[in-house]
Symmetry: C2
Subunit: 215 residues, 2 copies
């Protein structure tokens, strides 16, 4: 997210154009990678899409790998912000049912074809490199920290309590990843979407107990 360069007292000189160019390259990369696949994408394609010559690319990045990582981190962060924003508004219902909360969370998480392709390839790519693997793991954790509190609130309102936060967290992420593919593979199929919600509710219930259970 933040740049890793040593921070000067004032922002560096001639920064506006640079930032715009960089951003246009990042956006072009997302499009091209989604369409062609990361491995099939070329510096030339990304630059053409962004409306630059290849020199501009080398003035901003050292390799496609670096661009891929930067783009993925930016988009991931943006997606998380979106989810947070969508979930921040808790005025929806005073004591929502668990079902309603799950629906709300699922609506806030976009299941998007292009982004799925990018993330799937990034994960596969990351598994070849320990540093990148940690980046993926950290992102999963961040997703958890965003979603868990909301789910816990809903459980509390329903008089239930989470037994093992970590286990529930892992389970939710796994279910999200696994069902997202299914939704994409059968786009029109509403049964799949409903099965997804049901699975979430089931697991949240199984990984929590009523206060009376605990006596």
């Amino acid at each position: 997210m933040t740049e890793l360069t040593t921070a000067p007292s004032r922002p560096e000189r001639v920064t506006r154009r640079r930032a715009e160019t960089r951003q246009r390259l990042l956006d072009a990369a997302a499009d091209v990678f989604a369409e062609e696949g990361f491995g099939r994408s070329t510096v030339e394609q990304v630059c053409e899409r962004a409306g630059f010559t290849r020199g501009a690319f080398y003035s901003n990045f050292t390799s496609l790998d670096e661009l891929f990582l930067a783009m993925w981190e930016q988009r991931s962060a943006r997606m998380l912000d979106g989810i947070r924003a969508a979930l921040a508004d808790r005025t929806a219902a005073p004591t929502p049912t668990l079902e309603a909360t799950v629906e709300r969370v699922l609506d806030a998480i976009p299941v998007d074809d292009a982004w799925y392709r990018i993330t799937a390839e990034f994960t596969a790519h990351a598994l070849r490199n320990p540093a990148l693997t940690r980046v993926v793991a950290a992102r999963e954790e961040a997703i958890l920290h965003t979603i868990l509190p909301i789910v816990e609130d809903a459980l509390t309102a329903a008089g239930r309590r989470v037994d093992d936060r970590e286990a529930l967290g892992r389970a939710l992420v796994a279910i999200h990843d696994g069902t997202a593919v299914q939704v994409l593979v059968e786009p029109g199929n509403d049964t799949v979407r409903r099965a997804r919600a049901r699975l979430f509710v089931t697991v949240v219930n199984s990984y929590s107990s009523t206060d009376t259970d605990r006596r």
Copy 2:
């Protein structure tokens, strides 16, 4: 699996060498794709790995895409056979617990780094092409048909019954896919493996009911 050519009365002439060459190319492709990623792999790399010149490739396949599909189908089928074989031997215990059955099924399903990368990229790739998307969907269904009977047997032995086979099937596939990544991202972590088994058991239980429930 089976060739789509019109079947001649006898097998075609000079078939032995051809089949071996083809197989060596398929095996080399699996290695190279796993190491480099599908998109980054070249005809040259695959041929070098297999010990052939590029001409041999064009004598057997028309494109890397075709080779990728053929390799993926062969490996998928082989993996399914392996699972079937491992599960066929039901002498293990007369009335196994559900937990034991889940453990057995999970042990039979290899969670393998290289294969995960290949499948993740294939799925991403397939989502760009309706025909390939159907191939992926069909494979998921085949996995289901292999696993569900075993799970149902164990449930029956435990005096339980599946309410909705399709829903349970989808849930199991989703959980498998989702947790497989987690196992790979944190290879040493045994908590992850156990969480995986627990999630399976939980879901199987939630999607079935005891015979007394039904009265």
